[in-house]
Point group: C2
Chain length 258, copies 2
């Protein structure tokens, strides 16, 4: 079977890419065949995995009906971890997709053959911020939504909004099967009270969705992508690596990935 996760949050800079990359890497280290789909025209996940951006190498073509997702799959230097990269042209999809037929189901159609081929146990989609065409398409294509929430006040405000959008997609019958898979608290700053308060607040509202693994704010996690490395390649003994390894254990457990 293949389980499709989308990591989405319309709020920017809340650790979606850092989580997509390092959660996927942690799953791959546990020998779970994982494919990262970079759905952000900014292609941060692509760079973070050490892959060169190339014009024409993204889901832009397949989303327009030109070519298949298969031919975009790129191996990484990590065993059991592959990537469908992104590049700038994908930005045009945000605007063009909205002008087409059945525009919310396009990504679902593009990923269908990948699902059916059973090549990967987990597909992790990294979304751009904002709830535009690409993010909405990923919500319509996924089995589970994983939300990353920065341990800051403003991050809380967006939570309600994305949950309402999940409800809209379900009641409009666009993706009735979409479930909120879990909430990952990121960039926890041990030196402030604010971080603790935000985590407790989320625990109160979503006690069985919040993951126990809270990702600490650490410079190592922000440095790794500038070397095109996952945290496991960059600093495997760091608190950031430990946190993502523990998150992977929870994800495997919660979604039966083994």
């Amino acid at each position: 079977p293949t389980t499709v996760f989308t990591i989405a949050n319309q709020k920017g800079g809340v650790g979606k890419t850092t989580t997509a990359v390092n959660l996927a890497a942690a799953l791959a280290e546990k020998k779970i065949h994982t494919l990262v789909v970079d759905l952000d025209p900014q292609a941060n996940a692509t760079s973070a995995l050490g892959i060169e951006k190339q014009t024409g190498k993204s889901l832009y073509g397949p989303l327009r009906g030109e070519g298949s997702a298969f031919e975009m799959i790129t191996p990484t230097v990590y065993e059991h971890l592959a990537l469908i990269p992104s590049e700038e042209d994908l930005a045009a999809a945000e605007i063009e997709l909205a002008q087409g037929e059945n525009y919310l189901a396009r990504l679902r159609g593009v990923l269908e053959p990948l699902r059916a081929s059973n090549g990967y146990r987990a597909i992790i989609i990294d979304c751009p911020p904002a709830l535009g065409m690409l993010s909405m398409n990923s919500l319509a294509a996924a089995d589970f939504l994983l939300i990353t929430l920065q341990c800051e006040y403003m991050a809380l405000e967006g939570l309600g909004q994305i949950l309402r959008n999940v409800e809209r997609l379900k009641s409009a019958n666009i993706n009735p099967a979409l479930e909120l898979g879990g909430v990952v608290m990121t960039m926890f700053d041990v030196r402030t009270n604010l971080s603790r308060q935000v985590v407790d607040e989320v625990k109160k509202h979503l006690p069985d969705k919040i993951f126990d693994s809270v990702i600490p704010r650490t410079v190592r996690l922000s440095e790794a992508p500038s070397f095109g490395k996952t945290i496991f390649a960059y600093d495997p003994a760091s608190p950031g690596a430990t946190a993502y390894k523990n998150l992977a254990k929870e994800v495997i457990e919660r979604f039966g990935l083994k």
Copy 2:
């Protein structure tokens, strides 16, 4: 005259809202009549200014041709500072606008009467992340683009992309007058080398665009919005307040706002 600034960067969480709110507040403190336009369906700027979100009170209606921008103007508790708020419905604009006629010029048309009325010396548009309909509309509507860049590696990658989009809008004749007004370095972390390196890198590439005022990473700046306050109301003696006051001085100077 009225000068329209848009604060945009497709990358999320890079201080767009924090800068829109506190730069506007600093200008208002210097008696420069300023209007903040919250163009982000997440309405973070609206909350940060202590204004309650209200369904129907945003540019969503005017962008669809229903009602004018004037009737959306909301006073704040700060003299010389007003706000056009946002609320969740604006998210629909991201998808609906793309399906209409002349879809990049809609915001420009909506703001035109405001410009002409000369009620404000400065209009500051806070954009959502990602380069969707709303951000592209704001680029098409503005005189100057102000880019905020977080002092982190990934922030650099997005700079080239937004500058290419500015060029596209200019060469497609959609907004030939749009200029890159300046780059604000935000969330400078004195404890890391990475921050310093990112600032130096940007200084090398855009020496006359980068502002001297660099905004430090400080907990006070992230706490203020949770009380619905600008940094000047929350902690006027803080390094964050000083930095935004100095930024306002540079902005007044560079764009002749006095």
